[in-house]
Symmetry: C2
Subunit: 247 residues, 2 copies
């Protein structure tokens, strides 16, 4: 009886941990959505709110860390439970980084709003929507313990990388057209890069979810198609992709 009680209660603690992570996921998803809205509506007030809300996400991560340490100390879980608990720690860490990127997007939106509207912003908003849907899919995969959905996140990330690479090239040509475009385009470039990184973190989470569900690693063949670090665009705006071997 007493043993049964302990088992039930441990399950409840694991459930509570999963809930905390889902809550953190919800906050991060909202922060990202608001950052993208702030960008598209040129709304500095909303952007400031996103920057302010990051503190709450950071606090939640600390709380999850404490929850995990307490759970490990009191429950000393074994085997698959132990891996799940460690995986939770990792997911919380990835979510915290995504929160940071959302806050950084919002900060750059505030900076951008001091200059006239730029056309490439539209492409970044498109990228942002794609990233949002990948984050949603990732959090669904976690909440539903769905390995198939977790695997699908990777395909979504592939699209993000492709979109990012095309935005990168587009931005370079804008900068070449008119020096006045350079500063705002630099911010937009970092925004696009932030979104591309969010996609990578979503993939990390998805891989961790897959591991929790299946008890084994997702096949290692992770596609990667952001080749912008190998891209040089000459003054005519012609983009060439360098030696892919080094990627």
């Amino acid at each position: 009886m007493s043993n049964d009680h302990i088992v039930r209660s441990f399950d409840e603690e694991l459930k509570r941990l999963a809930q905390s992570i889902s809550q953190m996921g919800g906050l991060v998803e909202a922060a990202l959505a608001q950052a993208i809205t702030a960008l598209s509506k040129r709304d500095s007030q909303l952007a400031s709110a996103v920057v302010g809300a990051d503190q709450r996400i950071d606090t939640l991560q600390s709380e999850i860390d404490d929850q995990v340490v307490r759970l490990l100390a009191l429950r000393q879980p074994m085997a698959s439970d132990l891996r799940t608990v460690i995986a939770s720690l990792r997911i919380a860490n990835e979510l915290e980084r995504i929160g940071d990127y959302a806050a950084n997007l919002a900060k750059r939106t505030i900076a951008l709003n001091s200059a006239p509207s730029m056309r490439p912003t539209a492409a970044v908003i498109r990228l942002g929507k794609q990233v949002q849907s990948v984050i949603q899919e990732t959090l669904d995969a976690f909440a539903q313990g769905d390995a198939t959905k977790a695997q699908a996140v990777r395909d979504g990330d592939l699209e993000i990388d492709e979109l990012y690479t095309s935005i990168f090239r587009e931005l370079l040509t804008y900068m070449m057209e008119d020096p006045r475009n350079i500063t705002p385009c630099t911010h937009i470039l970092f925004m696009a890069k932030n979104l591309e990184r969010v996609g990578d973190h979503a993939t990390n989470i998805a891989e961790t979810v897959y591991f929790i569900v299946k008890g084994q690693h997702m096949p290692a063949d992770r596609p990667k198609s952001d080749v912008s670090s190998l891209t040089m665009v000459d003054a005519t705006g012609l983009a060439t992709v360098l030696d892919k071997e080094a990627h």
Copy 2:
């Protein structure tokens, strides 16, 4: 007797874990140093070697993860030992990211080498040296369990942030001067940003080291002086820093 043996052996396992992390730290430090050398000597072959070596760092991180899970399962450490083990996991994770940044620096070096040498590269190399010394200090703090050294890392990171902000402004003016500078300067901009991020990860490690040594968090008042996300430079090259409130 038997109990004493178990205790000794657990200490040995903790020591082995610390050694694995120091080894990973050494590899990351070397990768960063080589990436900076490759940049300053325009050595694409060395840069390729850095990109290739990142795999080894990633593998070591997986091994440390496994070591931690095994240790938790078999030893079920309590209180401060448990916190140390969890902290090790975090440090390994931060080191892995620094390794990624070193590899990315190397990739961009290869791309840069296809264009003529750029003057702002010198500033990035200077930034790289500063980051290197901060990483060294961080790893020393970890190896020696030195909380004072860990706190000093923060000051070093402050210098990194200031240097980064000044490079960011310098690069914008270069891009405005001549459109042919834009593509290489974009790579240099990302390189500088990567180095600035490495400094942040070093600070995270230092905070974790402090926590292991002191059993409490480093005072939360972490200074932050990268204000580049709030910087706009107008076409005349005049830099203005926007509303710091939102930072």
